[in-house]
Assembly symmetry: C2
């Protein structure tokens, strides 16, 4: 039965490109029209087909981690590109529909988590060895989408441009008080303090990030202007001229959006400005990959615009600009993946084979979701007063003719 169901699923999904499968019984099957990306898969575990049919996303991800199948040249990126190109065109949707409906409901329930779960969720990912992140991120450890003004930009350039672009949207003046919600390893806080004269409070729930960021602040001699706290953003009080939050909203979860934006509003003075940078989707709302939420980001949720806009309206914030970055994260992830593979020997000294395969799959799957399956980045610039931001966006692009 699973064999037949798998055949139907694979035929429904893989139409463009070519998937060659070598089965445990010695047979070979082919799916697709042969035009486009191709991949060759050898199935080792006969139970794999059942696992894929029951939950394609989880079955494929775990199957790769467990070596239930292998890929020609171990090209997991090419394999996932082949799948995402087809899924991105809506293939197999009729087949997936009943399952994905149920998964969406379950996904919602999972996200109604008590507050203490946030810290566990964060620890799961961000308290991994700092060495791991240093082996694929840039030197500033920007663990969010870079901004490629030219396709030839290095990752370092693109990450610096990301911070500069966000700083531009924050309309900073020296001495302004800035809150950085989810400050990571402190790169944004350091830049805003050093290059823009801001006084920054950065909050994170990751002990590893808190320790690293605090050390970096001291090393940079900016302890008088930057404070890093191990604190839930909901516990922050006071007023901040500017609020920035990069790559943290993905962890908030749909049931908490109201709480999140209410807190942002409450922390802003009447002429305040906030910039929320988050992964999003241009597709209608759907469940975030079960494999990603199980292994990479527990509690994570990738919102559609239609899930964010009603909440922004309801708390009385004014969206003064909504930028939609497409493909920047695909390019960022490609850079990360190349660095990760270049350093794979050193990663193996930190983690076992299953973890290494998990991480490779994570980077490749994320890249291909941005490249082919409706994922993007939203930058919401928000204000309480429409006069807090200039009438045109010219101020963001002033150096253009020179730069």
């Amino acid at each position: 039965m699973w064999d037949k169901l798998f055949e139907r699923l694979a035929s429904a999904v893989v139409r463009d490109g070519l998937l060659v499968m070598h089965m445990p019984d010695g047979s070979t099957r082919r799916f697709g029209n042969g035009v486009g990306p191709s991949a060759e898969m050898t199935v080792h575990d006969p139970d794999l087909l059942r696992r894929i049919v029951r939950n394609p996303d989880l079955g494929l991800g775990e199957g790769y981690m467990d070596r239930a199948y292998s890929l020609r040249d171990d090209d997991v990126a090419g394999f996932l590109a082949l799948l995402m190109v087809n899924v991105g065109k809506g293939r197999g949707e009729a087949w997936r529909f009943p399952i994905s409906r149920l998964q969406r409901v379950l996904g919602r329930l999972e996200q109604i988590a008590p507050a203490h779960r946030s810290r566990q969720n964060v620890a799961h990912h961000y308290d991994l060895s700092g060495d791991l992140y240093r082996l694929f991120l840039d030197a500033d450890q920007q663990y969010s989408c870079a901004y490629f003004r030219s396709p030839d930009d290095t990752l370092e350039q693109a990450q610096a441009q990301k911070k500069a672009h966000i700083a531009g949207k924050l309309l900073l003046q020296p001495g302004m008080r800035v809150l950085d919600i989810g400050c990571g390893w402190g790169g944004m806080a350091l830049t805003l303090a050093r290059d823009y004269g801001a006084r920054v409070l950065g909050v994170t729930l990751s002990e590893e990030q808190h320790a690293v960021a605090t050390a970096r602040v001291a090393e940079a001699g900016l302890s008088d202007r930057v404070e890093i706290r191990l604190q839930d953003y909901r516990k922050v009080n006071g007023q901040f001229d500017r609020i920035v939050s990069v790559g943290m909203f993905e962890h908030v979860g749909l049931p908490h959006y109201g709480e999140y934006f209410s807190k942002v509003r409450d922390l802003l003075p009447p002429d305040g400005v906030a910039l929320i940078h988050t992964i999003g989707r241009t597709l209608p709302p759907g469940r975030t990959s079960p494999w990603i939420t199980k292994y990479i980001f527990p509690g994570g949720y990738v919102p559609a615009l239609s899930e964010v806009t009603p909440v922004i309206e309801s708390v009385g914030l004014i969206p003064t600009d909504i930028e939609i970055w497409r493909l920047h994260y695909a390019e960022t992830l490609l850079h990360w993946r190349r660095r990760f593979e270049a350093n794979i020997a050193r990663v193996r000294t930190l983690y076992d084979d299953r973890f290494c395969r998990m991480w490779r799959y994570y980077l490749a799957a994320s890249e291909m979701t941005f490249r082919h399956n409706g994922q993007c980045v939203f930058q919401f610039q928000l204000a309480r007063d429409q006069r807090a931001v200039p009438l045109t966006r010219d101020y963001l692009y002033r150096g253009n003719a020179i730069g």
Copy 2:
């Protein structure tokens, strides 16, 4: 009873500023704290209070048209500024809540109109004497929000900048086929053909606009590149590299959004780009002013972002940029109102006193809604493929350092 209810309503709404009211019985009442805008009103018709209590928006608008009250210096703009400053801060909302809920439901029902109603609705406004529009618009007759890159821009400059900004977002190449949905008096179509080498089909449901635009095309010697049709956009077939629609979406009505965006998607090739420019609101969804829909734009509806984003997602279009113009329309309307008042003697040769007061009220109320009560302009740049638009918005601002 009406007197007491009016007292409660006025006290709940007018907190900032000062409203002095001279009542028919000779008494004088004062509302507000005296800080901010002020207005002085003399009530002539004792029934006015009842009309305002039952439907504040309609009662005030019709009362002004009917001279049921008069204002010091006939300063309707100042009077409406006083009201909108307070309404924009949520004053009187508890009082208005039950009524506004009912009005929203009624508003939805009104908009489920058969297709032939569209033409009647358009005729109501756009088939007014072309002379009227010439007495307050710029020479190019741009009847939509201008784009002020500097507060000192003339209306002519700001309208030219609006067209250039939109042309930039359309990423035009000479020879491209462009559809202009709701082409008005043809100014955009002429500009795109003359300055960008586009081949343009403009459609309008207004006979007056169709006649004027067609004559302008012939006069400009562009009949080989611009066609103006008296046609419903839903009847247009074929494919267009670019679609532009400025100030037309306001007339579509919420129940027809799916039809509208589906049509836009169907008319675009895979690498096509559309730019939809519409009045919107940064507040949660609400009913468009009953006075405006009764006297100015029957069938009109001002959307919140949360009403548009789910539809864009559901038809499979990708929002590649969402710009939110604040205050530009307030400035545009101020220009229009000044020109209208400067030409009021000539308007009076075309229309009676009640029409002139209606138009003055319309321009002033619209301006103050943009200035103080959550109205804005949305520009949705939409594509079918995320690669149809450059990765950054730099291309829109290239001339900045020079310009």
